[in-house]
Amino acid sequence: MKKLKDFVTHLFVPKEENNFKGKALHIDFLTYYLVFALVISIAFKRMGANFSNVLGFATDITVDKLYQLTNEQRQKNGLVTLQYNAKLAEAAQKKAQDMFAKNYWAHYGPDGSTPWQFILSSGYQYEFAGENLAKNFLFSQGVIDGWMNSQTHRENLLKPEYSDVGFAIVNGVLNGEETTLVVQEFGKPLIASVTTNNNNFLPVPQAKAEEIKTQPVKTEKSTIISQSKTQPKINLTKVSWDINVIFLAFLLFALALDFYFAAKFNVVRIGGKSLAHFIFILFVFLGLIFFFTKGSII
């Protein structure tokens, strides 16, 4: 027990034995952290490249979780839950692939294609339909929170008229950047279609279309990372998130202790300023918690 206490003290408390600076903040220890960061950065990149279809590396977003969270929000607001619809999921998949193929990020394609075309071409005849889009979120909860915090998306998600929903999560390259797109298609089937299957009607789109943002068309290969409703076996995104949070918290803790004891023992030393390191890492930590996991929605 004494050895453990000595070790912890040696790591965090400035004293003569550690040259009046917690060992955890010495140059050699900082070098070990850097080597560790480099190794896991390379290892995760390789695992992501080799096993992305299996592990769901790019994000922690799953269709299952999105479906569950969408229905939770509807239940909270006293609405009927939505049924998962394979045709709407197919439409969402087509929409996501179209965005990668034509390199755009909008409800309407540069060639004038509309969300309703994808829904109809998937064989879903609708009375009401809507679409929510999101990109580059890390977690399913973040996607739903993003939509719920935006009035138009919230209205779409909580529209009482809808009865069905479908999702697609597709990974590819958009504007030269690796991107994970999430497409959510809502619908209420047209009852008449069951008996007549007539395409000659004018659908009433319910989603508000945003301004079309088109980019020069590039042909990049898109890769589907997740369309299954099952949770990946190993969740690397969650693991890397946990490593980041734990490590930054550890550094902040070590710096705070070092600064406290240096002040208490009135230690004067030459070296980096613990207070400056603390402020710097605190800003990075805040960025990690509040912004790095968030994506954008339209």
Partner: protein
Amino acid sequence: MKYLLKNIKKELNQHLFDYLILITAGIFFLVSLNLFKGEKLSEFVILLIFILFYIVWGVYHHLTDKSLRLKTVLEYILIAFIIVYFLKILIQP
């Protein structure tokens, strides 16, 4: 706790301008991240700019403090790049 507050106050009084610059840069960093939310490349560039700023800030601070040593610069560089490589896993997987 009194030692901590006393020392923070002392440090801030001695280098108020330097710390104001650092905190302002930190606020700009967070605002920029919010503006470019969801743009992975932009987020990474913003992080790199903040990291490089921090190294320059460290050199400037110790230069004015007349305590600049190679080991000190190395400490700032190491801390900055540890952060880059850890966050790189999340931002650019």
